[in-house]
């Protein structure tokens, strides 16, 4: 594809990105909430890890996991794009069919903006507070520690890039399902609990029971949060880290293919709501 062919997707990404950066009040409120939750979680998990049973993660690794998990919370595909859902209800979705662009790529670009703008606003202050302010006040033990090393940083950055790709593929799939089912309610009710449990946002995945681990490693939600977080703290290093990157990439490709296939069918049978 040439540069000019990519222009519409770049344009929609930029427009959405700038729009989403406007919600500052929501970001401040959200930041406060996440600090509060992170604090509670750090205290609860340190109490669990202080017990006599050996833990598969050290306290350091667990605390890093909790703070980064709070920082990147908005990267999770919590819900379908509310604006697209409104279009489905009002019938404006028909205009989306008229655009002389690849429909899936266009929506995917929207999703990428949604999964980068808001998370950036939330992640930066959280990393600053827990990684810089807390340690300088002498509470480094309860804050975000430095990454495990140069290799961990590079792998972490690669993994985060794949998180954006994967989360956007998830988001777009949700959008397509909304078109198919004509309502965002059912989709959203289902996906939020799945995302929060299987990504490791609720409990770090390695702390779940041992017999669940093989399944947890290979399911797609692990690539949304669990993989980069464990790479950062060094819990996942070397070839296991590369393997995690590979799983993230494979799931992205599969979800894009699935989203495209469903979209083709849904759009072919689309009945526009009058109104």
């Amino acid at each position: 594809m040439t540069a000019s062919a990519l222009r519409p997707y770049h344009a929609v990404f930029r427009a959405r990105f700038q729009l989403l950066l406007q919600y500052r009040a929501a970001a401040i409120a959200g930041f406060g909430t996440q600090c509060w939750w992170g604090t509670i979680k750090v205290m609860i998990f340190s109490a669990f890890l202080a017990g006599p049973v050996a833990s598969p993660m050290t306290l350091r690794e667990t605390i890093d996991y909790i703070w980064l998990g709070q920082a990147f919370l908005m990267l999770l595909p919590w819900s379908a794009d509310p604006e697209l859902a409104r279009m489905v209800r009002s019938g404006d979705i028909a205009y989306e069919r008229l655009r002389p662009v690849d429909g899936y790529a266009y929506w995917y670009a929207r999703a990428v903006a949604r999964r980068t703008a808001t998370p950036l606003l939330r992640a930066m202050p959280m990393v600053l507070l827990t990684g810089v302010v807390l340690p300088s006040l002498g509470y480094g033990r309860w804050g975000l520690g430095p990454p495990a090393g140069i290799a961990a940083v590079l792998l972490f950055i690669a993994s985060m890039a794949l998180v954006v790709a994967l989360a956007s593929a998830f988001s777009t799939l949700l959008d397509v399902l909304v078109v198919m089912t004509l309502s965002e309610r059912g989709v959203n009710i289902l996906v939020a609990p799945l995302a929060i449990v299987f990504s490791g946002s609720l409990i770090p995945l390695p702390l779940l029971p041992e017999w669940l681990q093989p399944f947890m490693q290979y399911q797609p939600f692990a690539g949304l949060l669990d993989s980069p977080l464990r790479i950062y703290s060094g819990h996942l290093g070397g070839w296991s880290a590369v393997g995690a990157l590979g799983r993230q990439a494979v799931w992205t490709v599969l979800l894009v293919a699935l989203g495209r296939a469903i979209m083709r069918r849904a759009m072919a049978r689309l009945q526009t709501q009058g109104g």
Binding site: A29, I196, L207
Partner: protein
């Protein structure tokens, strides 16, 4: 018509209107049941690995969880009018209409909606409660049950008080602020574990500022026979849920101050 009968009418109207969409009601309730259920499964998974936390076992923590969960589900169902007060009444100016009616604003807002879908969350917390009682072997004596009921009543009052405070804030901010979520949902998260897990400042906050510990940790510890872990005399523990009512009283007093301060947006 007296206030109680009027409230009954309000509730009847609200329930009838919600039952016009039975599928939506069932789906939302089932969704809430599943979402909170998954949340609790995660707690169970932690205990499956670590066996105990600071000496507390799964059944005991389940009882903390159940008491706080039932309280929140009840309060959240009853006080919907306060929850959406900023957006629905202040910003639109609709609060003027409430003021000209010859009834108290609190009664009218309580009657605004009884959220039936909260039954999903309530049912989940009750199921956990049944499991907890089986696991901890609480007997059918009057004393523990009276304490648990009192704790739930105090907890419902406390969470209602938080939502009334959130609404009161809207007199100044005009919009509904989600900041109260840290105390409602965040409070549920914090109070489902025994308070002696937490750092001292946080424990003090949950005892003296927003007394969530007084409606779950202290009374439940008394029921479980672990009064000695709290550092408070056993007889006193069973009375602590009263602080939930005190909190609600303070919130309602501030609410009246807010109502006097109210100026309509005029829109």
């Amino acid at each position: 018509m007296n206030a109680i009968r009027l409230y009954g009418r309000y509730v009847g109207v609200s329930l009838r209107s919600q039952m016009q969409y039975p599928a939506s009601f069932l789906l939302t309730s089932a969704g809430a049941f599943a979402a909170t259920g998954v949340d609790f499964l995660a707690t169970w998974a932690l205990f499956a690995r670590f066996r105990q936390v600071a000496g507390w076992h799964f059944g005991e923590v389940a009882l903390f969880y159940s008491v706080i969960g039932v309280s929140f589900a009840l309060a959240d169902g009853l006080t919907r009018g306060f929850d959406i007060f900023g957006d629905q009444f202040v910003r639109t100016g609709d609060f003027d209409r409430l003021l000209v009616r010859p009834r108290s604003t609190v009664l009218q807002l309580l009657g605004y909606e009884l959220r039936a879908t909260r039954i999903g969350r309530l049912a989940q917390a009750l199921v956990v409660g049944v499991v907890a009682i089986r696991l901890t072997g609480i007997t059918w004596h009057l004393a523990p049950w009276a304490t648990l009921l009192f704790a739930v009543a105090g907890g419902t009052a406390l969470f209602s008080g938080i939502l009334v405070l959130q609404a009161t804030l809207a007199f100044w901010t005009v919009e509904s602020l989600e900041i109260a979520n840290t105390l409602t949902y965040g409070g549920v998260e914090a109070a489902q574990y025994p308070l002696d897990l937490y750092a001292r400042w946080f424990r003090n906050f949950l005892t003296f500022v927003v007394p969530l510990g007084c409606v779950s940790y202290f009374p439940v510890a008394a029921v479980l026979g672990k009064a000695d872990r709290t550092g408070v005399p056993a007889q006193l523990l069973q009375l602590t849920p009263a602080l939930g009512f005190v909190f609600l009283g303070v919130a309602l007093w501030l609410w009246r101050y807010g109502v006097r301060h109210y100026t309509s947006t005029g829109s």
